[in-house]
Structure formats: structure tokens, C-alpha cells
Amino acid sequence: MSQPLLSLQSLTKAYPGVVANDAVSLSIAPGEVHALLGENGAGKSTLVKMIYGLVKPDAGRMQMNGAPFAPAEPRAARSAGVGMVFQHFSLFDAMTVAENIALGMENAPKLGALSARITAVSEAYGLPLSPDRTVGDLSAGERQRVEIIRCLLQDPKLLIMDEPTSVLTPQEVEILFKTLRKLSAEGTAILYISHKLEEIRTLCDHATILRLGKVVGECTPRDTSARDMAEMMVGKLLQTPTRAGQAAGDTVLRLTGLSAPAPNAFGMALKDIALDLRGGEILGIGGVSGNGQDELLAALSGERPVPRGMITFKGEDIGPLGPTARRTRGVLAAPEERMGHAAAPDMSLTENAMLTGAVREGLDRRGFLDWPAATRFAESIIKRFDVRTPGPRAAARSLSGGNLQKFVIGREVMQRPEVFVVNQPTWGVDASAAADIRQALLDLAQGGAALIVISQDLDELMEISDRFAALNEGRLSAPRPAQGITVEEIGLMMGGAHDMEVAHV
């Protein structure tokens, strides 16, 4: 076997109260596409931060091309040939592509020379990108290209990519994969972090699976089923959500020509959305983030009421009603952002139970609040949804993301909604909690409620939806039965590649 490009031996990093990485060893060969797989909190981020020089390991050694490698800071890692594309972009909207790239370089050449190099690299790797465009006008996929080109200009030997596809349409993912394959063919190793198993099976040569900071398995993704990988990741047998087929009931929610102006300069206007939702069905709404998901939820929850005639619930016009009036009728919602939107971070779980439960749980007696009853309500949510917390007195912010999400979803589910709208129900939630949440949503539909599930996780939508639609630029595509729909079709519903060209390789 040839000498590995990078090898890690027994890397350990502990934070107070938690061992983030416990004796992690792995090696990456030149040109290898290596997947790093694991749930949230498994230690993936800590591991790559050590490679990129952001975190110092407590113990263990790293070797690059056989020589000891211990970057004290990202600059040292970069000069050793490590590049990293973060999940969240660090770009300035008001500046051009070239200016943004110049800002991230140690010895930036003159802008003209840099532009020429950007054009050269972008053509070589099939990443068409004009250096003079303003970043604010670019799609998420194009912004990611800026980050990738920024790394490629340093001529990296190892490229680390942190969840790169979470902001891309399937077509954009395809373009990205072509680029990554080309890089790999030229000998650049890629460390690819993701929890999307199908992607890893398509792209990666080798996978290392982390759980609770330890390496729990290695595999060749092409020869391993997604289910097996998921079970290694979670460490137990996964319950696939189940549901019995049932006929849809009467139409309960009807949207006709739902339009709303953008709430602010960074928001998206809703344009002429039409939809019929029946009792007992789940409508999955996909789409790249920022195409009107938050705005649709706000219009449906009543947070931003709309004019008459746009939303009818069981024949009643509820468009102009606020959240409390809609809750009274059984139209409930759970927004994407848990901290500060679905829940008040500094308040206790009891108070957060009161937040949306006051009307339907009878916690509000002519303006006076029944706190003992709210505590009992919070306790019942904690019990039924297995929320890990010391008790209802704990502040919402002390809960982990997954546990708080279980609480927030559970709070609405326990209120017996007739229509339930939820945005990103399992975002940032570990696999077993996500399965629990999906099962709760399916059970709710089984009981006759109508659900709208907005999500960026297409696998999730395919798993639970009866019908599927996509948001693109504030417009909703016509819903189609989810069964038998292809990824290609979904991609087109989501707006295709947003006018990006396919790589010319």
C-alpha cells in the first residue's frame, strides 16, 4: 500500500464533561474520497477542526506524507495543503467574487491577476463563475463555488467539505460531485462530512463512522447498504417509521392565491400559492432554504395574517386571524428555528408549554394562568416524547437541540391539531430522535389530522409524504403523489440548477 497522504493516530480531544474524540485513527490516501459519517455530536466537527488547526488535540499524532503534522492555526494547515469549505459560508454580500477571494488570501495578488486565475481555475474544474459578479446576487450553489475556488487557488492536497449538499438542489449536487471526482482523479484527497447516506454511497471510496467520539466502523460505501451504515452510526437497529395506508378524508385546508410581500429585504415574497389539503394526508414541501419556507409557515400559523379569501379552514376564512384564534380552531404550527422562535430560550419548559398550549389545554382562565396545569402539561410532553431533561423547571436553552425539538413538536402534537404545519421537523436532530418525530407525525396523520411538512431533507419527505410539492422563489409547484416520483423530477420542481451550468469536464 502506498504511503497515506494524511494519517491520524489515536487523536483525543476532551472538553469539560465530554470526550469529543477518543483515540480516533484514520488514514487518507492521495486522491481518495473519504467520508466521515456520524450523528450530530459524534465528533466529526472536532476531528476536522484538529486537522485544520482550529483545535489542538490533547493526545495523539497526525502525519502528512509521513512527516509529523501539527498545525497551530488554520494558516499553517493551509500552507501544508489542507483546504476547508465550511457549511456556513463566510462571504460578504456587497463585494464581488474576486474581492471576497482576495480577502481570504494571505498574499493576494492584484485583482486583475486574481480574476484571471479565478477564471482559469473555474474553467479547469467545471465551476463556471464570473469573478466580477456581486456575491449577493449568487445562488447558494454558486456561493459554495466561491468557497471551493478559494480553496483550490491554494492548490490543496486535502480538501475538507462540511455537509456541502445541505444547501443544494439535486442538480447542483450533481455538478458538485463531478467537480469533486475530477479533483480526486488529479490526486487531491477529499474528506467529506455528511449524514446523507445515499450521497456517500454515490461519491465516496471509503467511510469512517464515528459514534460518541469513537471510530465504530469502517466500510466501503458502495458495497454497504444505507441501512447498515445508519445502524452503525446510531448503534442500534433503526425503527423505520410505519403507517397503515388509508383513504384521505375531506378537504380541511384550502389555500387560494396565497400571496404575501417579503417581510424584509432578506425575505421572500409568497406568490399565488394554491393548495387543497385533506384530513389524514401529509403534504411534503421541499425546496432549497430561503425560497419562502419561513414565510409560508408564518402565513399559515397566523404570525403574519393575510387578506381575506386566501386561507380557508373547513369553509371558514381564517386568513386575517392571528395565531391564538387559529389555534383555537385547531390549526397549529411549529417553526424551523427552535431557540427564540418555537421556544423562549431563557424560560422554563413549563413556561414554554404555556407559550402555545394556553388556549387548547385550558391553561388560561379568563386571563389568569394556571401554572400547576402547565407544569402537568409539560411533564406529559416530556414523558410521552422521551425528552431528556431534569424536569419542567429546566430552561429551554439547557436542552440539546434534539431534545428541545422533541419538546416543541410534542407540545403541538399533544394538542390534537386538525391541521399541523411544521418546518424542518428533524433539522439537527440525531437519527433515533428523528425517527421518533417522524413516527409521531405519521401517527398524527393516522388519527385524521392534515399535515404540511416543510423540509430540506428529501429522504425524509419521501419517507413520510403522501404528496410532494416544492417551493421555488416563493411559488409552490403543483403537488404530486409522492409515490414513484424521481429525484430528477423533484430537482426540476425545486428550480433545477438555478441556471447554473453543468460542469464541462
Binding site: V55, G302, A333, A343, A344, P345, T356, A395, R397, S398
Partner: protein
């Protein structure tokens, strides 16, 4: 490296200990300040904190505590409701003046009629005066999105001009031999807010302050509106999601703080002050902002803070006359109190981390 790390949950211990630590730190650094001015620090501290309560002339100063503390508490309770929700009424001083003018106006209009309904009418008028003055920034904010901090503050200066105009013109005492200022309401029994128990300093404003404390406590702990206020302060988006109307909350909070400030002004003008004069207002409306924060925006805390603030006022006066401390030094002393409170308050939600920090 010294850094701050956010606590997973607010520390109950520190939220209670912060005011005590702040008072102790103020005593210490205030003592250094007095020493630097060439005064005996221990004696100065003792004069400020001990003399008014237990000194030789305590029988005179103790009622003063109630008289000075009542308007502070009354105004601060109102302000705290808005402050909790992130609605900043900085113009309580103006609402206090308008309450006094409306209340005194009603009383003077009935002069010299003798009736038991005059004083209740004055109370209503005073509350209305403060409320309507606060509704100006409230409505402007709701309708046009103006900044309530600026508008309410500017209206203080408008109110001061009204006060001057009234004491020189419309409300001037016709028998006052040309001096500015209204008739003295102390000499008009039907409109006089006198002592309820002779020599105690207890007047209707003190009663109102205690009622306001209880009212605010129940509102915040048990009522839907109080909960809406607390949620809005913690997470405005979560409040909107739960169904709180921000506009209604602005109207309620500004209205309530204006109403209580108006009441405070009315009780003051008909009692301890006695008449409308150009220099009627002495800054209670601004000091109440400090009182509200010193009391951690909690009704009981505000009650204690109002007492403490009144103590430093009276003690400060004594220190000025007895030890020749400059008035500015007393103000610095009071400012220190707020500064240290805010500083120690940080540790309720953060803890100090000493050692190497790293990017995680």
C-alpha cells in the same frame, strides 16, 4: 486569558446576590472616592446609610424615606413592565409633570368648593394626564414605527415648558402677589393629599405605591399580559408566534407606565410639594429608571431599591450639610450603584473562565 462563558441556565444565587454585592462594592469604592476628597470614608458611608434610619434625627428622616421612596417606586413599577418587554419609556419625568398638572388643574378648578369627590377626581385626572402623555410615543411607535426612546424623552422637555407656562400663567395663584406658582393645595383641604397618620410620612401616594407593587407582582406571575411581557422580553419572535400582538403590548406598557408616573406626579403636587411651580419636578422620572434596574425589574426588588435610593438621597443630603461633601460626589455615588449592579448582573448568565481559550 480571561473569558466569559454563558451558563446553561441563569444562576439563581447570583440574581439574588448581585444587588447585595453591588451595594457592598459601591460602599467600598465610594469610600475610596470620599477619602480622595479628603473626607473620612467610614463616617461618610455611615452618614449616608445609617443616619437617616437610626441616627439622632431619625424621627425626622424616616417619614422622608416614604415621601421620597413612594414616587420612585410608583414610577419604577410602571417602567419595569415596559423594560421587561424591551419597550423603553425614558420620558416618565414628562408623564409625572403632566399627571401633576392635570391633577392640580382639576383641584384648582373646584377651588374653593368643599367636597369629598374632588380628591378622587384629581386622582383620575392625574392618571389620565400621565397616560395620555405616554400615549403620544406609543401611538407614534405603533402607527409609524418611531423610536419611543427619543419621542418620550423629547416630550419631557415639552412637558417642562407646559409646567413653566402653567405656573406663570393659567394656574398662577391670583392671590400670590405676582410670584410664580399656583395656590398651595395643602391649604385646600378637599384637594390635599395629607398624611394618613400624623408624623409617619404615609400619604395616599405611598399606599398607591404598595398597591402598584402587588398589582405588578400578580400581573407578571399570574396573568396572560404579564406572561406576554416576559416572553416578549426574552424572545420577541417566540412571543409573536405564540400570538402576542406587539402593538397592543406597546400601548399597554407605555400606557401603564405613563399612568403610574402621572399618579406619582399628582400625589406629589397635592401633598409633599403642595403647589405647581416652575421647578416642581426634581428628576424622580429619571431616577426611577435606575430604581427599576436596581430592583432587577422585579416588583419586590423595586420596592427595596426605591427604599435604598431614597436612603442615599436623604443620607446624601445629610452628608452634604454635615460633612460638606459636594453634591456631585453623591451623584457619582449613586451612579456607581447602577454601574456595579449591571456589572455583577452579568454573572447571572455568564461565568468567568480563567485560562487558555480556544476556538471551538
Amino acid at each position: 486569558m480571561i473569558g466569559l462563558v454563558k451558563r446553561p441556565e441563569p444562576s439563581r444565587l447570583f440574581s439574588l446576590a448581585a444587588p447585595v454585592l453591588a451595594v457592598l462594592a459601591t460602599m467600598f469604592f465610594g469610600g475610596l472616592l470620599f477619602a480622595a476628597l479628603g473626607k473620612a470614608p467610614l463616617e461618610a458611608i455611615q452618614t449616608i446609610f445609617w443616619e437617616p434610619l437610626f441616627g439622632e434625627f431619625a424621627f425626622f428622616y424616616r417619614p422622608q424615606l416614604l415621601i421620597k421612596g413612594a414616587p420612585l417606586v410608583l414610577i419604577a413599577i410602571g417602567l419595569s413592565l415596559g423594560f421587561k418587554a424591551g419597550i423603553w419609556n425614558i420620558g416618565a419625568e414628562g408623564q409625572y409633570i403632566m399627571g401633576a398638572l392635570f391633577g392640580a388643574g382639576v383641584g384648582l378648578a373646584f377651588y374653593p368648593l368643599d367636597s369629598v369627590i374632588i380628591f378622587p377626581l384629581m386622582v383620575l385626572a392625574g392618571a389620565f394626564g400621565g397616560w395620555i402623555w405616554a400615549m403620544i410615543p406609543a401611538v407614534l411607535k405603533v402607527k409609524f414605527g418611531t423610536n419611543e426612546i427619543l419621542v418620550s424623552l423629547m416630550l419631557v422637555y415639552v412637558a417642562e415648558q407646559f409646567l413653566a407656562s402653567m405656573s406663570l400663567g393659567l394656574m398662577r395663584n391670583p392671590e400670590g402677589m405676582g410670584f410664580p406658582g399656583s395656590r398651595n393645595l395643602r391649604q385646600y383641604a378637599s384637594a390635599h393629599n395629607g398624611e394618613l397618620v400624623a408624623g409617619s410620612g404615609m400619604h395616599w401616594g405611598v399606599v398607591a405605591a404598595f398597591i402598584a407593587v402587588i398589582f405588578a407582582y400578580v400581573l407578571l406571575a399570574r396573568h396572560r399580559i404579564g406572561f406576554a411581557i416576559r416572553v416578549t422580553g426574552d424572545a420577541p419572535r417566540a412571543a409573536a408566534f405564540s400570538g402576542v400582538s406587539p402593538a397592543r403590548l406597546v400601548l399597554f406598557c407605555l400606557g401603564m407606565s405613563g399612568l403610574l408616573a402621572g399618579l406619582a406626579g399628582m400625589f406629589e403636587v397635592s401633598g409633599p410639594a403642595g403647589q405647581v411651580t416652575i421647578d416642581f419636578n426634581v428628576g424622580y422620572g429619571f431616577t426611577a429608571i435606575i430604581v427599576a434596574f436596581l430592583g432587577r425589574l422585579h416588583p419586590v426588588g423595586i420596592l427595596l431599591a426605591g427604599g435604598l435610593m431614597a436612603l442615599t438621597y436623604i443620607g446624601g443630603d445629610i452628608a452634604q450639610s454635615k460633612m460638606g461633601l459636594p453634591a456631585a460626589a453623591i451623584q457619582v455615588f449613586q451612579g456607581m450603584l447602577l454601574f456595579f449592579l449591571l456589572a455583577f448582573d452579568l454573572f447571572t448568565n455568564y461565568r468567568l473562565k480563567i485560562g487558555r481559550t480556544e476556538v471551538a
